[in-house]
């Protein structure tokens, strides 16, 4: 398939996945507000969210005060923020439009319609009226586009590049969602009792944000502890949004796309996956969760670059 086509598909999938995960992250924040807590903790939460998406400088350049409204608007509806849900859904749609002939009709219409409806909801003020409904909607549109892809697309390179994009982005985003709390302190189990209770609600909402609360119960049949959350979201191969499961997805699709120039990227991905597969909690805590996640994010970034140079880059003619 054309390199340019592959590139558009890869980014189409990444943007859709990013929109979904941003919605998931914002949803946690929303739920946290329902708990008793200090205004201080809300500001801390907002700032952590920006920091984790590496958007703090961009936000500060545009807004004087950090209010819930300004952050929400920045992350959801701001066309000038390339990572806002608005920009992601538009970029997903524009990338899809550039290769709409490669997509099945239903697939393209789903992406196009998602964008049209989202823009309509923003105009209709859905963001300030029912943010939770809006985030839920974004999540379900992402489910829908994945479903329509799996249900209608030919299982060829186009599908593999799309899935590669999805899994790579998901690895990145899950790591970031998890990292929000560890930016502050590396070992949450060592903290005060009051903070630990607050944490309990926090980790529960983290789990539900990645649709993992029921999974947690099923896997551990025990109380929610940060250490187990870390284990579930990083190392559990059966948990579909964990780092290891995402890397499995990356490697599977890379194997289906193998060419003469793809050896290096397959090796990088395989190595990262193997390290997760044979890692354990103790090891992660001894490095420090935040440090571990930061290193992981750097390697995922590098992996993205290698995918580009193996398949997507147009040689300069």
């Amino acid at each position: 398939m054309l390199s340019r086509t592959a590139d558009h598909l890869f980014w189409m999938a990444r943007y859709m996945e990013r929109a979904e995960n941003t919605a998931r992250m914002l949803d946690i924040n929303l739920k946290e507000r329902l708990l008793p807590g200090s205004g201080d903790s809300e500001a801390r939460g907002l700032r952590a969210m920006l920091r984790i998406s590496e958007l703090e400088p961009a936000f500060d350049a545009r807004h004087k005060a950090m209010t819930r409204e300004s952050v929400l608007n920045f992350l959801v509806a701001d066309p000038d923020n390339p990572s806002s849900i608005y920009s992601c859904l538009l970029a997903a749609r524009e990338n899809a439009r550039a290769v709409r002939g490669t997509l099945t009709t239903e697939w393209w219409e789903t992406l196009n319609d998602t964008w049209l409806q989202f823009a309509g909801q923003l105009r209709g003020d859905e963001l300030s009226a029912h943010p939770d409904t809006l985030f839920e909607w974004v999540k379900f549109r992402s489910h829908l586009s994945r479903g329509v892809m799996l249900g209608t697309a030919l299982q060829d390179d186009a599908l593999f590049f799309t899935q590669l994009g999805t899994f790579l982005e998901r690895a990145d985003n899950t790591a970031r969602i998890l990292d929000v709390r560890f930016v502050e302190v590396d070992d949450p189990d060592s903290r005060s009792a009051a903070r630990q209770l607050e944490d309990f609600y926090y980790w529960t909402s983290i789990l539900s944000s990645v649709s993992a609360l029921e999974i947690y119960r099923k896997v551990y049949r025990d109380v929610v502890t940060p250490a187990r959350v870390v284990e579930l979201l990083i190392l559990n191969q059966q948990m579909p949004r964990s780092l290891l499961a995402s890397l499995d997805g990356v490697c599977t699709n890379l194997a289906l796309l193998t060419t003469g120039t793809s050896r290096e990227v397959e090796r990088t991905a395989g190595k990262l996956r193997a390290e997760l597969l044979y890692s354990d909690l103790r090891q992660i805590f001894s490095i420090g969760v935040h440090t571990f996640l930061t290193q992981f994010l750097a390697r995922v970034y590098e992996l993205g670059n290698q995918v580009a140079s193996a398949y997507l880059m147009l040689p300069v003619g």
């Binding site: 398939m1 054309l2 196009n112 060419t259 003619g317």
Partner: protein, 468 residues
């Protein structure tokens, strides 16, 4: 002035519209309004939109779709079909001739300077043999019916990159979706096999020795106004849609960059004008083309559809000579009429044009898309005088024609159902043989009394039925 109405003849419904009229009479206005809203929604969701030249905001617009079909009875289509085949055959023979023997010029039928000083003439094509000797593989011939005598006239031959065929296909799909019962009641010639015919035509011009040609569609990109059509045709034919940057030339062969490495390209259905095809040969500032493409093409290693240099045959300065071409090459009388045309480069014609500006349509010789033209009867005195100045400054840049009272077809507008002027663009495919689907794109001027049907100027489209 009486205007030929496609549906009615002095109040009585014409036989080929009877059944439809009966059906329409049973539809409430509310149903039609609801169906129109449904069509709009569907078109938008499918993304059948276009960008308007000069509109920098990049907003996408829908081409208004009208629910009332334009119906052509079988006998009229038979006439159009044979007339179009005849015309396109002659045009292709003309193209081969002007790039080879030049018989028509030597015979004095067409003045040499009209051909060889024409900006659309490509000296690079002299003596080059294109596969099957066919230049215009895809032709979109604009036809109007004169509102007075009811006869068909060819208004324009589009032989470069004619567009609109996707609307012909999508309009039909939409009508079948909205009103399936109509298709049960009528015997309407199908059009959906057009992409198959197109692919077959494109494959037939593969370079010698290539049995399984790799055909691609070359688009200027997603910001082109016809981008939807490019993706649509590529998808329907199951071939790659490429941009200039996806292609490169090596050893006179054209390759596309794929995730599996370079892959050879044999036939390019290009939707880019000649000038932009190869920055090394033509416009150096073009980022749309492929450096070296012209050399590969001249070497016969890749085929282009349409061929380079077809513009010399659809130019408005050549248009007046098409009936002569038909007589010259085919020894036949033209089946379809040409609109009488005054060539302002001739002093007598210019004088006539200047004296009759308020009655005439004056067009730029190289213009297209309804831009840069004067429609005398619809223009204000000031507009006419401004145009007169432009005309006098460069007479050879213009032709003029009588203002045809285009026929009208009932159209669903805000005020209800009212007649609006229409034209017709059938698509003619030439490969080993000349083939067409029965139908075409009907464009409709939605403004009352307007004669300009171009989508860039507020025109809409209709489904076109040829009855069997």
């Amino acid at each position: 002035m009486p205007v030929h109405d496609e549906m009615r003849d002095e109040g009585a419904v014409r036989p080929h519209y009877e059944r439809f009229q009966h059906w329409l009479g049973r539809q409430g206005g509310e149903t039609m309004t609801r169906k129109r809203a449904e069509a709009d929604l569907l078109f938008r969701r499918v993304g059948i939109t276009f960008a308007v030249n000069g509109d920098l905001s990049g907003t996408e617009r829908l081409i208004p779709f009208d629910l009332i079909p334009r119906i052509i009875p079988a006998d009229e289509w038979t006439l159009l079909d044979s007339g179009l085949r005849q015309r396109v055959k002659a045009l292709n023979l003309f193209l081969h001739d002007v790039y080879h023997e030049r018989n028509i010029v030597r015979a004095g039928v067409i003045p040499a300077e009209q051909v060889y000083t024409n900006a659309q003439y490509r000296p690079e094509m002299q003596g080059i043999d294109v596969p099957l000797g066919v230049y215009a593989l895809v032709a979109g011939i604009d036809i109007v019916r004169d509102g007075r005598d009811g006869a068909f006239y060819v208004l324009e031959d589009n032989l470069r990159v004619p567009s609109g065929v996707s609307y012909m296909l999508e309009n039909r799909k939409m009508m079948m979706r909205l009103f399936p019962d109509l298709f049960v009641q009528h015997r309407i010639a199908p059009v959906a096999h057009y992409p198959d015919l197109l692919l077959d035509t494109l494959r037939s011009v593969a370079p010698t020795g290539v049995d399984e040609p790799n055909v691609v569609v070359l688009t200027p990109g997603m910001y082109n106004s016809a981008y939807f059509e490019h993706t649509f045709l590529a998808q329907q034919m199951g071939v790659e849609l490429v941009e200039g940057t996806d292609l490169f030339v090596e050893d006179n062969y054209v390759f596309m960059r794929t995730t599996q490495g370079p892959r050879r390209v044999d036939v390019i259905y290009r939707r880019i004008d000649d000038d932009f095809l190869d920055p090394l040969a033509f416009r150096a500032d073009s980022a749309l083309g492929v450096p070296g493409l012209l050399t590969a093409y001249r070497a016969g290693r890749v085929s282009l559809a349409n061929a380079m240099g077809t513009g010399v045959a659809d130019d408005k300065s050549i248009y007046p000579y098409v009936p002569d071409m038909i007589r010259f090459y085919l020894g036949e009388q033209p089946i379809l009429n040409n609109v009488p045309t005054w060539q302002c480069r001739k002093p007598d014609d210019l004088a006539y044009t200047l004296a009759h500006l308020p009655e005439l349509v004056v067009k730029e010789v190289h213009g297209a898309g309804g831009y840069g033209m004067l429609v005398g009867p619809a223009a204000t005195r000031g507009e006419i005088e401004a145009f007169r100045t432009r005309l006098l400054a460069r007479p050879s840049n213009y032709i003029s024609q009588p203002t045809l009272a285009l026929s009208a077809c009932p159209t669903f507008v805000d005020a209800g159902i009212a007649p609006r002027h229409i034209d017709l663009r059938p698509f003619v495919l030439s490969g080993r043989t000349v083939r067409m689907v029965a139908g075409g794109l009907t464009r409709v001027a939605l403004k009352e009394g307007s004669l300009v049907v171009n989508s860039s100027q507020g025109g809409g489209t209709k489904d076109t039925w040829v009855l069997e």
